[in-house]
Symmetry: C2
Subunit: 341 residues, 2 copies
């Protein structure tokens, strides 16, 4: 299985780590022999049809900030589109940063790969939140698989759980905490009586929140995940604009005190209800004895299914190695499906 | 897909409910057309190679207490072994009561079915706890599938989660609350200061505990589940005797008070650790802010995996319709595998 990695940030680098460490085991246990034949980052690219030396590429990346400086195979050429189109490979791993306004550059990368008949594994929520129904159709039309386990829950297999473990059942509704940053902030506000601004500063100091925290605190990251779950797990064909979104900027210490008085806490809950339009992200009162009322940066999702009842899955929602393990899961699934056909 | 149901208690009856209600959907969505051709209970059997009228059989069972009274196709013949051996069917659903001393009569039913080349779906923990390694070998030898999703967590897909969602990872350890009855009792002892005896009485009044509660309170039910998980999810070949088992009989109100002082609660925890022999069930102090520290009759299991980190799954651990949904999940998996080969 030949791979092109587009974007070489924390997740993609962790993936190359895992592929190196588990090389022998992947071969023995799954008959999988992955070769990374191209990597593109902002500064350029590196290309070797026989498979790159991943240790060397990682070393170059950490020393020079770009894979372009790799001796022999490195190049300043930065056209990911051309590389996706021209380099022979079965799978493109798209791991550029999420952009929820245009979906770019991930959108173009994914479309190019699918049109070239390449399978795609992505951890980029942007293109999916903006156009998942169209991308799924494009994948089906080109007989390619599009997989994105790492976009919801990081390494926690929330999408796989819904899809594989509840296949024989019918998911009636889904709700949960999908954003670790805001959950950390709300937990701190609750415990220490902080204001929104103080909690944001604390999250930024801990490295949980970006300098521009809008994606998290205004609810858009959670809304992107809700969009992906609604498409993948409930068969709805929706995009980000179909989600009613409210972030946590207006949550006051007094709201948390009121919630506490009622035996609960305020959590940013993403929800896919029974009704066609009942899809939202909003601060919500959750009872403390509800198992999804978790603290810190964890994610927690409850599936309400017709026959098996309520099921909850809790795990870390982010992290490089964790998310990379989700990418590997997708690659293995694609490999298995390729070998069946 | 032709089915023989052995045992016609709550779970098997719920299964026939689901098969009736979802008949059309199973055909359209999965191409599955299940026909129950035989049912055996303690009083006799009912047999129709063309497929039984499940509504009628359920009605007869609830009126007369046995399917033997079904007009036309009913019979006082009670030899499940002969029926498993002689009646043409692809799958035997074994749903007789759990016996952790001899595994019977389930053990003989399962062995007979596998030797006849029939796939087996069981919700009976007895044979699995006593002989899972041997039964797996027997299934492989006879090219038959042996599945048992419903034995751990009821409808909550704990085994499937471990197997399907963490395939690409390596499970390092597993721990959790696996028995709803004892969890209810410990929750009540903690909340209301009850003694063990008082909590047992409360659980019996609620219908959570059997007249003979030994299986639950002495930890054997949890130990059977631990045995099944160790075999299925961590590749160990163990049986019930390899588990160190301690129940909750000796838990005193003072222990719970001490635990509370340390910010925790006492829970009956089943555990599969890193070491070969580190497999146990015992009352254990769990911190209150640990997501597996749940109350009531719920089950909660934490998987610690090498790459994806800690993942927790929480759900109802029992219930007729829930467990029947796990049986259906197994049937669908078998159907899918049959069609691939």
């Amino acid at each position: 299985m030949r791979l092109i990695l587009v974007g070489f940030g924390v997740v993609a680098r962790s993936l190359t780590d895992i592929l190196t460490v588990r090389k022998q085991e992947l071969l023995e246990r799954y008959g999988m022999h992955p070769r990374v034949v191209a990597i593109v980052d902002k500064g350029g690219s590196v290309l070797n049809p026989k498979g790159l030396d991943l240790d060397e590429v990682r070393r170059v990346k950490s020393e020079f900030g770009t894979v372009a400086e790799t001796p022999e195979y490195g190049s300043k050429r930065t056209s990911a589109v051309a590389i996706i189109d021209e380099v022979d490979a079965e799978v493109v791993v798209e791991a550029t940063p999420t952009n929820l306004e245009t979906g770019e550059p991930g959108m173009t990368h994914i479309e190019t790969a699918l049109k070239a008949g390449r399978h795609v594994v992505t951890v980029n929520k942007g293109p999916l939140a903006l156009a998942l129904p169209a991308l799924m159709e494009m994948a089906a039309y080109n007989c390619a698989y599009l997989r994105f386990s790492g976009t919801v829950g990081g390494g926690t297999p929330i999408l796989d759980f819904g899809r594989k473990c509840l296949t024989s059942d019918k998911i009636l509704s889904i709700e949960g905490i999908l954003n670790g940053t805001t959950n950390y902030m709300l937990t701190e506000m609750d415990k220490l009586g902080l204001t929104f601004e103080e909690a944001l500063k604390a999250a930024q100091e801990k490295g949980y929140a970006e300098a521009n925290p809008a994606l998290d605190v205004d609810g858009w990251d959670a809304a992107a995940k809700v969009t992906i779950m609604a498409n993948w797990l409930t068969g709805r064909e929706i995009t980000l604009k179909d989600v009613s979104v409210k972030g946590i900027r207006d949550v006051k210490p007094a709201d948390l005190k009121n919630a506490a008085k009622q035996g609960g806490a305020v959590k940013l809950i993403g929800r896919i209800g029974d009704g066609e339009d009942d899809i939202s992200v909003a601060p919500t009162l959750v009872k403390r004895d509800d198992p999804i009322c978790i603290g810190g940066t964890l994610n927690a999702v409850r599936f309400h299914s017709e026959f098996a009842g309520n099921e909850i899955i809790i795990g870390k929602g982010a992290g490089g190695p964790e998310t990379a393990s989700a990418v590997l899961r997708d690659l293995l699934e694609i490999r298995e499906r390729m070998s069946v056909n």
